[in-house]
Subunit: 766 residues, 2 copies
């Protein structure tokens, strides 16, 4: 690098033109702080309207630091996990202990919100519903704690109702953008879903009325002898359950046994309500989801552009006949601030993409793409010789060593090990009490260890264990864990007659997990798996969403149903047959031994809610809880079904569908292409022919193939590769999903708005 | 019409230029026959490479006549319905009777295929797999009938295996284009699905192995006391069933009762295999479906274009400085031949769209759109005075009569009747043995009759009962049927103490159906219903597909399982408890009283297959049939699940999604717009303001609003309206679905191919 890299050396040429910190004045540390905040906000799509005064900027830098963010999530997790220790508890702690921890959490949230209040202007702070939401949650929780404490002190019955509010913190913290977006998707789809739902309910009521008239007076009975289809509300519930298919042939059998004409009624019902209406629900949810997401992403792109333009305004110099530009030194300083972990080589590469003509400065258009460039993950590969080659080159370069390297890199090596895995799978399936089989385990372990050692001999160790070599890490960890667990297990077994069940379980799990490796060697499978891994982070957002909804339902469910149904470990207890509640005697719930499906603690509640999400037998569960409380308890379960299955699962399916289509159909974005072109021009690219498969991110194998100590075809010691299919942020994936649908004007320059006080798009809290 | 309409009057101007029947020679009847065949083939997207000799053209015209087509479908239906009368039969007929009918059917199919063979060139005939398929089916059926007849004559056991082939006729007849396309969608999606399925199976096997190792040795038992998770194959089956959620909490309960850690194993399994993999299946099926459909529709559009160009070549005249043209007389003659039922006014409208400048002749580009124009459904509305107005105008135009008309057309009239319907719904729900309630039925019937009479007084009767006034027809038919049924019922009841259950059932059904009318008066509901009605015809294709698959599985199932499970009407029979098969004693199948779910005749089989499609409890059914035969019988059920639920239902959902998106997002096509513009120019349009809702096809209401005898705002007695959202053919809907994705060059002229022997896209048989 011959360019000057110190910012002080750049001479001023023209005065500022009303731009904040404008002109060609030497940029101060404050300027760089401000510009780096704009860039990093643009990079991560943060939409925070912060104060631009130097103190506020410093506070904001601290606010965005990873330590307070991790701490915040730690305290949210702690707050949520208090449910494990509170009445009804898995592990009951005294009230003062949980209360103390909760106070601590509230304190942490208060500190965080006060910090936030100091960063952004006062009027903006009070206009943002998510801040008000957090403050209200904190206050309500305090009130509830005081009331509950007082009631407990006087031995009265109290309900910790504020626990329902806890998961809302997860939604309303600044970092919960993805989650808020998911909630907004749902809220936006609601009006459309509502009308389809009404029509569906109308159809349900009409069919129920018909069923009542046709079947009610025939004196039919169900298997347990109760009258069949005589009560209108029960018919409505039964037919609602039939839509979920949970009572599919059973509800029809008495009528079908009477005459097969009635089967036509039920088939028609299922066709209309299960197949047509449920497809329409998915279509409506998907359609709304796509439409509103597109709108939001358009807004995101626009606000990102604005932020980059502001950063440019802060760092710009005036240059004769060129207009405002940013020179390389300032740019380097900025990139170092925004992303301290970026390598010099990588930074130079990015600069050469921006400054295509080697002018030493870039204009606004080139500058604005920086945020997107930083989001493209570039892997810097350093071609290092194998350490053994450096230690004793004669031995490592000898003919047998070269042959070994050739063999290990050959396709047959992979096939041989795949066959070993298959044989291993058969051995695992066989009875392990047979001593031959038990001892074979050592042989397999040795073979797997040998494989890893051979690969380490052939490939450069640091490349073998590079950050992106998922399967290498997976292999090594699994094999070494299995080795340790097997040794512990056999030493425990030989030491005494006692075999630890836990250790054995771990050994079994590790053995079976080892087999998964075979997936990686079949290209088609790798394609599918990679696609799944890529949409994984976005699926995690839905995981959070589900946890929020589950937590609220679990808290309400625990208050409503705790202790009503009990599970007895001791199988000799007579109460076991009816779950400790005489009301359940003879019900399907007790007959199917569902006693453990209860709301007696938060873990049981979550497992029960998963079962309700899977839908099957949910009517048995809801009838069980209705039996021990009141028939209206079924409403709780129907509400859960509507919210989770009809709405959230459909949005989940819509998301997976959309993400899959994007993965299948989209080529790389323009920026990535220009970056790749530059890498190619600089002759730093990893051989292209290994990347022909546009779905397979063949990176791992490329890492290895290129890094062998033996082959040194490349002249340059440094190589780049774009991890084109990885997304640093979920936003980047979303923007990619819609970038072809966006209007071109969103990418056009909006100079007139640059110096104005552009408004951040306000995203209301969910 | 001042233009000459007789083709003989057009003078020749230039000689033919190597075009078949080219030049300006007076067009013969043969020319018109040929051109009309091309146009009608283009209109209905038939891809038949027929011989262009006059005899073959005449034969082909006869081949496409509706009578032989209806006859063909009648014989196919007859052939398929033979299963009702054959062993195992619903109504057993002697073998000679069914054999005779089947021979008759085969004869009909043979005549049809011979006819087809005479229409198209010999080499084309033998190259088309669907013809060969039909011939093979006919021959195999004959062979099977002879063998079966011989075996029966010697009292041996015979299997009518050729019955499996019967539904394939439905696929391979010339008219089964839609069905063949649906099968092609499936076949094209198979390779992609296959790899996902393999990965899914791998995951299933790995999880099963882990389950065996973790749970097999713990000595757990299921509710019925059998060992839990000890046999690998049974685990695989149980976990496969878990993917379908059919045994959801039950399969988990023994492990969950032992320790809640095992619940995590099952939750993880459901998450990966049920949610992720099933979504991926849908995504892959949907993606492939979209991709291949697009390709096919592109091909269809191209071949339609070619056919129209050929028709143009047949009818063209040479005109100085204009190139080849078709004059209005020839065009009129052609349209009359292609669509004899078209009104003169409609034809003139179409001509004025094509001949935009009133030149009296049109070029190739204008001619080619004829096929699409004919596919746009234009409703000709004739503004006729009310017959009462003609009979006694004084009375009909009097103030009370006008007030009555005003009231009936008022919004409040609809609301009042909606309220009456609601009250009626409550009365239906109440006990009809109460005499007050029973008599109220007469009042409601009178009110509904009054409504119809009032509407007939206000609206012109022919407009009220026009072809597209679905709800008017619905109302009238339901009310009059209900009146007749109620009269019959009450006369039967008063005549004796005997009440006919059947008549009463019909009365109840009609009463409840009457309530559906309320949907029409809520605009949002009408929107959704109209969308559903519009995608209805396409859904029927999937209905055919399902019937083909069901029929094949029913035939196989009947051979495998007939008589194994029996249903006893008589509840006192002790064999009823175990379905007449001692092997079923104590099984869940018998306990749940599933005896009627059997393969003992074709109707039971179909109902059972529907239950399997709905998925719930399919494992109980399959285990039941495995118990009475062999454990491998489960394969039959698993295969059915894979084919019907994983593949066909997913394609169905993909279709509904895509059709919905098209409905939501697409505006009218260009051609429709130009047609509408022309209608507007000619001041023949129905008032536009009533059509603002782009989703509601407000036609029915417009029909009524515009056709009142009173209001005569319009000057013209004739009005047109485009039934823009109705598709004459499924192909038209499909083309519309993809027309925006099609390359523009598909619509470009391909003159060089015009005179060459363009190849029809060959669509192989499924």
């Amino acid at each position: 690098m011959s360019e000057p890299e110190k910012i002080e050396h750049i001479p001023d040429e023209s005065a500022g033109k009303g731009i904040p910190n404008g002109g060609n004045a030497a940029k101060t540390k404050e300027d760089f702080d401000l510009a780096s905040i704009y860039v990093s906000d643009a990079q991560y799509n943060r939409n925070i309207y912060f104060d631009t005064s130097p103190q506020a900027v410093r506070l904001y830098l601290r606010y965005n630091h990873w330590i307070p963010q991790v701490l915040l999530y730690f305290f949210i997790l702690l707050d949520l996990s208090l449910a494990i220790f509170e009445e009804p508890a898995v592990l009951l702690l005294p009230i003062w202990a949980t209360m103390l921890v909760e106070l601590l959490c509230l304190l942490a949230f208060t500190i965080r919100i006060v910090h936030y209040a100091k960063v952004i202007p006062r009027d903006k702070f009070w206009k943002d519903p998510k801040n008000i939401c957090i403050i209200v949650i904190i206050l309500l929780t305090l009130v509830d704690m005081i009331i509950y404490g007082a009631l407990k002190a006087t031995n009265c019955y109290g309900v910790r109702w504020s626990r329902v509010l806890r998961p809302l913190l997860l939604v309303n913290v600044t970092e919960g953008r993805q989650l808020r977006r998911a909630f907004r998707s749902i809220r936006n789809a609601l009006p459309q879903i509502f009308y389809v739902f009404l029509l569906f309910m109308f159809s349900l009521l009409i069919f129920s009325l018909m069923a009542l008239k046709l079947l009610g007076k025939r004196g039919l009975t169900t298997i347990d002898g109760s009258p069949y289809f005589t009560n209108y509300l029960e018919i409505v519930f039964d037919l609602y359950v039939l839509v979920t298919t949970a009572n599919s042939p059973d509800v029809m059998m008495p009528a079908y046994n009477a005459s097969f004409y009635f089967a036509i009624f039920f088939i028609l019902y299922i066709l209309i309500n299960t197949y047509i209406f449920m497809s329409v629900f998915l279509a409506v949810v998907y359609n709304n989801y796509k439409y509103h997401l597109k709108e939001e992403v358009r807004q995101l792109v626009r606000s990102k552009r604005h932020k980059m333009v502001r950063a440019f305004a802060v760092l710009q110099d005036q240059r004769e006949g060129e207009g405002p530009v940013v020179n390389q030194a300032n740019w380097n300083q900025l990139v170092r601030l925004v992303q301290p972990d970026i390598s010099n080589a990588h930074r130079e590469l990015l600069w050469s993409v921006c400054d295509d003509n080697n002018k030493g400065y870039i204009g606004k258009v080139a500058f604005v793409q920086l945020a997107d460039l930083l989001n493209i993950e570039v892997i810097t590969l350093k071609s290092r010789p194998h350490p053994l080659n450096s230690l004793c080159p004669n031995l490592y370069q000898s003919a047998p060593s070269r042959l070994l390297c050739y063999l290990v890199q050959h396709r047959a090596f992979v096939i041989v090990y795949d066959l070993i895995i298959l044989v291993n799978a058969v051995f695992i399936g066989l009875d392990e009490t047979n001593p031959l089989i038990a001892n074979s385990e050592w042989a397999f372990l040795a073979l797997y260890l040998l494989e890893i050692l051979l690969k380490l001999y052939v490939f450069e160790p640091r490349a073998f264990f590079s950050r992106h070599s998922f399967w290498n890490w997976f292999d090594t960890i699994i094999v070494i864990s299995a080795l340790i667990a097997t040794i512990i297990n056999s030493s425990v077994t030989t030491a005494g007659s006692y075999t630890s069940r836990q250790v054995l379980d771990i050994v079994f799990i590790l053995r079976v997990l080892r087999l998964i490796r075979v997936v990686d060697s079949i290209k088609r499978f790798r394609t599918i798996i990679n696609t799944l891994i890529r949409i994984g982070p976005a699926i995690l957002t839905f995981g959070q969403l589900i946890i929020v909804v589950y937590y609220i339902f679990a808290m309400v469910g625990m208050e409503l149903f705790k202790g009503k149904v009990n599970f007895y470990e001791d199988s000799s207890d007579p109460a076991k047959a009816y779950c400790g509640n005489a009301l359940l005697k003879g019900t399907t719930f007790a007959q199917l031994n569902y006693c453990r499906n209860n709301f007696n603690n938060v873990v049981s509640s979550f497992i029960l809610l998963v079962e309700l999400t899977v839908v099957n037998q949910w009517h048995v569960l809801s009838s069980g809880f209705a039996t021990v409380t009141h028939v209206s308890a079924k409403l709780f379960f129907v509400l859960f079904h509507i919210i989770v299955v009809i709405i959230i699962i459909n949005i989940f399916v819509a998301f997976v569908l959309e993400a899959f289509f994007v993965e299948y159909s989209l080529d790389k974005s323009d920026l990535q292409t220009s970056l790749e072109k530059k890498i190619g021009e600089l002759e730093l690219a990893v051989a292209q022919e290994t990347m022909e498969d546009n779905l397979v991110n063949a990176m791992e194998t490329i890492d290895n193939d290129q890094q062998t100590g033996q082959s040194s075809k490349k002249t340059s010691a440094l190589m780049f590769k774009i991890a084109s299919k990885r997304y640093r942020t979920v936003d980047a994936l979303l923007q990619r999903m819609f970038e072809f649908d966006l209007d071109p004007e969103d990418f056009a320059e909006n100079d007139d708005q640059t110096n104005g006080n552009f408004t951040n798009p306000t995203f209301s809290a969910a």
